[in-house]
Symmetry: C2
Subunit: 366 residues, 2 copies
């Protein structure tokens, strides 16, 4: 049984995202539950002459690692894995959890230690710049999103524009329109957003906006930059709940002065919020301002890959900025929080209204 839309997704990943060609060794990693998509990607890679290297993760193995690993297991990435990453030309990663809460009982310190151990792998992937991250709908993700599996499949494939005859053209066109928006934003000094509980200004002067065109993330649809570090003034209410590290944080309010968070509260997850903000020097400053442009996503589902792209929302990340944007904030934290502007919100660039109640004025994102 093959869903035509998976074939389209495979084409997006293989041809549009990483531009695979003859002889390219492409690591395709994902959970067992992603089997149908892994196979489509495998087939498509062979078709363009590339060499697929599947790395399939069994559910439950990570839990066993955290239960039984010894200290030295956290010290060094296995050299053969490192060699695999170093030798590969491109990477396609597919999220497909069988249980989104499988790591709920794991000591976060262990998770951090493993993340730190394998930071070098991540840097190899980012350094090669040919990578794509996507998601395959599973019952676990559907459940987390409070949908049936079938309903969630429709949701996911719509967000990726897989019902379009030619999704590659769709994403190219979206990237073109985002380019127009970026031109406007890069001319601006000051961005202001207002809405229920929100009135925040910040400077993007001299900063570069990046075009989330669907090559690195699928789905995509966002433009983002690193705001000037000491510029944020005012307050913002993040109305969209986020799942992070196996828990939920919602109803976050932050007040900024001179770019720094000086007041904070959360309806749920206050402790986690405090821990994040107090992590280090940079964790009370913004590392990212992102503007979602994906109107194929009807609502938030506690999955950051989708929620931050939601048309009519703006996301701000406390912590580390992306160097390519010109942002200079350094931190061990990069945590995205999402502000919903769809109910009476407004977004301005140097006083010009760009978006009202979540709808762009003069830009067409379908």
């Amino acid at each position: 049984m093959r869903d035509e839309r998976l074939g389209k997704l495979a084409r997006l990943l293989v041809e549009y995202s990483i531009g695979a060609g003859e002889g390219d060794q492409v690591v395709v990693s994902g959970g067992v539950a992603a089997e149908p998509l892994i196979k489509e990607v495998y087939r498509r890679l062979l078709g363009v002459g590339a060499v697929p290297i599947p790395q399939v993760a069994l559910p439950g193995v990570q839990e066993i690692f955290f239960q039984h690993a010894k200290d030295h297991h956290y010290e060094k990435t296995p050299p053969v894995l490192r060699a695999l990453y170093e030798g590969a030309d491109a990477f396609i990663s597919i999220m497909a959890p069988k249980n989104t809460k499988a790591l709920a009982a794991v000591d976060p310190k262990k998770q951090q230690a493993l993340g730190k151990r394998d930071k070098a792998l991540q840097e190899i992937v980012l350094g090669k710049d040919r990578w794509a991250l996507t998601l395959f709908p599973t019952d676990a993700l559907a459940q987390e999103s409070e949908m049936s599996l079938e309903g969630y499949e429709e949701f996911v494939f719509a967000a990726m524009a897989l019902d379009e005859d030619d999704p590659v053209r769709y994403w190219r066109e979206k990237a073109g329109e985002q380019g127009r928006l970026i031109e406007r934003l890069e001319k601006a000094d000051e961005i202001r957003m207002t809405g229920p509980g929100t009135d925040l200004t910040l400077s993007v002067k001299g900063r570069k906006f990046l075009n989330g065109d669907g090559k690195k993330n699928m789905p995509c649809g966002e433009v983002f930059t690193g705001p000037v570090e000491d510029s944020a003034e005012g307050e913002v209410f993040f109305g969209i709940p986020v799942a992070v590290g196996g828990r939920e944080v919602s109803g976050v309010r932050l007040r900024f002065e001179g770019g720094k968070v000086v007041e904070s509260s959360a309806e749920k997850g206050q402790e986690y919020l405090n821990a994040m903000l107090d992590a280090d020097e940079g964790s009370r400053y913004l590392g990212e301002l992102g503007i979602g442009t994906n109107y194929g996503i009807p609502r938030a589902t506690k999955n950051i890959l989708f929620d931050e792209k939601l048309g009519g929302t703006v996301h701000l990340a406390v912590g580390r900025s992306y160097a390519e944007t010109g942002g200079t904030n350094d931190s061990s934290v990069h945590w995205d929080l999402i502000c919903d502007l769809r109910e009476g919100g407004e977004l301005y660039a140097d006083g010009e209204l760009l978006q009202k109640s979540g709808e762009f004025l003069g830009y067409d994102f379908g």
Copy 2:
């Protein structure tokens, strides 16, 4: 849910077979269906401080390869895979097919080409000499064996002696008894076997017998050598059907003169038999004489990993011999055929009766 016997099997593989220790990078390869055993092995490896590197195969991916691979895909093992094998310290491979006939429609030439491409990988594994091959019971294997899954599990675990309190000790003791048998066999010049349709003599003068002690194969229980290449005289009937390359061959009769097959017939699979014997110079000469010692296997199941170990059978392979035995026959073929001595058969070493109707005289293999 954890079956205690899988824990014992994992211990056999990790501690007894490959002797894994701190820092050893161990490639654990197997089909998705082997998930419970892969996890037990993963846990045990972490427990001894080793570094498990799971390589999980999705069912159906091989078929996609044979359908869509281009010529250049058959030319070179992907360098990152080669690096993975070169960097690893030991290998545990678990057969667990979801469909034993999945490759039935594949052109055997393609299978041969892939085998040839990846011969270097096999040589790396053999060269490191720390490898183990085993099997995890699946419905497909049970079906091929004409048993229920539960019945087949009992069959498999009994053959591996996993109901013993200490299977490691069991296999050490079996290896000891096999060592006694080898001492006798290595003193002999001539081996003779007789039975219905069988009266064959061959020389093992100066050849070394290897002790199948359960380290490389689980289950195990055999001693084997490479007979003197020009010595086989007489005829032999192989009463046990073999599954090979997705088909069945049974009722094979061979007549030898001066070591060479001069007459051959098969009740089923005659064409395949002819093709094998005509493959090259060495494919009409014997590369192996093996004697099964596993009496925990009650009957043949068309699976060579089990059938060749069956107590009361002798197997002969046409084609390539194992260099460690002193055998010198070279061929692209190494094909095991199994002769059943349990119904009135006899096995002699220099005229001394060693086995009658499948039962050893003076050797205790339980």
